[in-house]
Symmetry: C3
């Protein structure tokens, strides 16, 4: 990897990421996605070679997690540390947020020395991404009115719509696997629902994958049992922009001749909508009822498991298996799950490698939003 | 702002803050308060200009929060990070403190590489400040006996008596607003009780304001409904030292011709005393009873709201509204509260700006206590 | 202390610690123990002289605590900060570990930018040390397969078998007290059980002490009431290698002519075995029953208290009293405990000093495992 050449080429891309949030990949141009992705690859190589990319002297990287997380939490912590920021987690139980503070005020109160705010809020359909924009607007106002010396940028660590740090990591894994962005064109990717004994998993990963990978020329099939659709507007948008994108109702159909398969459970859009309403109303009985109903419905589709037989349908029987982890593995983490033990074990290291891009993607998003020309700063360190 | 000149002038003040705790503003001379305040202003400007004031190579900044907090927690985290310390929070649930350790021992056990200990302990009247002194005495002994290489200093992040990081931030806001410390002389400040649907708020903010602002020549009126007095000794001390200080029993009286108003709820001293006793006895029924009684009493004073009509009584109807945040805002965070939506919104950015001083005040307190001549170190960085 | 000379001598020891975990002192050669111990002493002196030993530019130090801890938690935080690592704690409640992830996967997911992983897992007999090795094996695989750029090393912060950061700190305290490793030879140490009103304390401290101190030539007596034995294999191993090691059934016997006494409560091996089984089965009634039975049995041995009369039996009545803290002190932290108030107070500062070695021991373990020649790096900084 010729770091100098890569950094010089990154500098030539028409990328306008400085001072900008990273909330949805659809809001970024192809050049910007390539810029952030290229930066992430460079940072990964820097780390491998023990070269420092600690471009900040000090400052806070704030994370707000409104849902559980191990890997994204550690990815953000790792990225913040590597670029030179101190990590501060906003724990909504410990803090006074429970006591009626408005988002607007809190966002400013925690940001006097902040550079970046990473947010995970994927529980409520129609709310997560909205909350991120509220935080962003609040610190923008604080900056304009002279309260904040700098305007921290917001990074989406998973919302109801998209999971850009995951999909960008997945994109870099695919680029590495097939050799280049160019080589992704025409490759077939099956993004399919899969059975899981749990329910209520967010839609952000499949939505993120179908929107991002089609833009890089992949032929994406989205497969799910009837009724398990994603947010209708997102499906429609992807269809409009990509004549090759199709939706099918069988895992087998999607797997046929696929170069890549991404089998993963999610809750139907309609269920997520009802669940959001019930959660907001704190309707415990309603939630229990919905869960029961939904699990019963899921159980009809236990054959939506990625097993060795289905893998045989893929290109030469050797498609790349992907997952954002943790997967529900049959006979390992559950009795019946998304993927058979055999298939998962064959691709386990690939899934770890896929995940390994995430901290560097986040670090790249931080540097791309907070420095005018991070590639120039990095060139000085080679 | 001529940083060089300011730093040179700070160096001339007779300030003896090196190696000293910051527990009460009343224990500091006027020069020392000006020194810490001036340092905070310089650090704020450093941050604005992206100049580093990371004077520590490493070391821990420890925070002990015995009450909820968002803004002070983040202010301390921000300050520790900016001066180069790693943040470690002592979480009394996770740790073994619950298992009978003495304060003395724990204070030393956590301090082997500590530089500063920030403590918030404002729940128990007669206990919070005492606890801070116990911690301070313990690490002083550890240092004297050779157990600790350095004696970490203690910073009061709010106790039962004072809230010096808040009142110092407020002082700097006032200095900025009126142009100089000199201009504060003779300005009228109304520190008044205000209605809130909650109860049990600490007395430290009003106590901190009346003690500090009178020392800078402000004419302070303290207003509260009968029975809602502060710690009697503090009221008496302020009165003794400041013939212009007065206590009135009406918000309107206090607001008349005021240059600054600071309407804020607190619990009556007698209630806090009873509450402390009940908390210590873990008397849940007693606490519920007291809360009920106290809320009922509060409700008699719902007209103690800072609204547009009352603001008209102030100097040209344009007094500066201050609050330590979060405020109980009528129709925003509660049905009836300390301040009307209209008044709060007019001064909202001012209250954010007021709060923006706090991380730099804490950073200044850290540097002033841990470096012999921080101003000399900072001069080298200009 | 001639730092240069000491560092040069450390460089001559035959020590193979680079890239190695620190899980048990028995897996280290005497030279390696002296190397790590010597490094810790040097780092302590560096800190005293305000010399930096921040050898890392960035990277994470991860801690996993599966049991409560104040002092070890802060020791690890202090050490990580001082060597230049950012601290990230894996909180098993917040994270998704509860959702069926395998140790293998999680270990890799948190380690992409990690340098060191400190683990405390001392609740389950037969499990703690095993878990550490699983984590170690997992990241070793991740490194070999190219998922991790570096293989983080694991440090045992207390398991079911050993507590090496404690026993190494104790060893350095003894070296300091008696002047040299050489002087430890033939000194008598009484490692004795003591009464405590609690139950279920781990066996790792007494096991760590008898295995380590006998290797440095001390004549160790282990004393406990009948039935309160440690893991039988560990007792047998120590006996085999050290003809002078003996087990007695009276505190008085062990104290006779002792140069050092270390009276500390622990649960009998058989109780720990049963408790592990009950904990794994989540048998709450069984656990309550066992606790009741065990406390009743403990109560028969309340005379196993280290008091002034027993101390008179020791060498000139002036043996050094040691404890890993917190001690159960009669009339201080409990009604009847491990040590009398009088004896503890006499040696209190000694126990603090003993504890003060721990952060530096951990820092030394980190540097010894992550740098080929940390002594050479440190020499450059003198």
């Amino acid at each position: 990897m010729d770091l100098k050449q890569i950094l010089n080429e990154l500098g030539k891309l028409k990328s306008d990421t400085y001072g900008k949030d990273f909330l949805l990949t659809t809001e970024k141009t192809e050049d910007e996605l390539k810029y952030v992705g290229g930066l992430a690859e460079v940072l990964k190589e820097f780390h491998k070679q023990s070269k420092s990319f600690r471009l900040f002297d000090s400052g806070l990287g704030i994370s707000i997690f409104r849902d559980n997380s191990t890997r994204t939490r550690f990815s953000f912590a790792s990225a913040a540390n590597a670029v030179g920021l101190g990590l501060s987690e906003l724990d909504e139980v410990k803090s006074q947020i429970a006591h009626g503070e408005t988002v607007r005020e809190t966002a400013n109160m925690i940001s006097f020395l902040a550079e970046i705010i990473g947010i995970r809020d994927d529980m409520y359909l129609g709310e997560g991404n909205k909350y991120m924009r509220e935080v962003s607007d609040a610190v923008a106002e604080g900056y304009e009115k002279g309260v904040l010396h700098r305007r921290p940028n917001v990074i989406n660590l998973q919302c109801d719509i998209d999971h850009p740090t995951q999909s960008m990591a997945d994109l870099l894994k695919l680029k590495d696997y097939f050799g280049s962005f160019e080589n992704l064109k025409g490759k077939k990717l099956a993004m399919t629902w899969a059975y899981s004994p749990s329910y209520g998993k967010p839609l952000s990963v499949p939505q993120g994958i179908i929107t991002l990978m089609t833009r890089f020329g992949m032929e994406v099939s989205l497969a799910y049992p009837e009724g398990y659709n994603l947010i209708p507007e997102i499906e429609a948008d992807v269809k409009k922009n990509n004549p090759n994108f199709k939706i099918v109702n069988s895992m087998e159909d999607a797997f046929k001749d696929a170069d890549v398969v991404y089998p993963k459970s999610w809750a139907p859009f309609e269920v997520m909508k009802q669940r959001t309403q019930l959660l907001m109303n704190k309707d415990k009985n309603g939630l229990a009822e919905l869960e029961k109903h939904c699990l019963a419905n899921n159980a009809k589709f236990k054959n939506w498991e990625c097993d060795a037989d289905k893998m045989k349908l893929t290109k030469k029987g050797e498609a790349l298996y992907m997952h954002c982890l943790p997967a529900d593995i049959t006979d390992v983490s559950c009795k019946e799950g998304e993927v058979s033990k055999e298939v998962f074990e064959k691709y386990r290291i690939h899934t770890y490698h896929e995940a390994s891009y995430k901290p560097f993607v986040i670090a790249a998003m931080i540097l791309a939003s907070r420095f005018k020309n991070p590639e120039a700063e990095l060139l000085k360190r080679i």
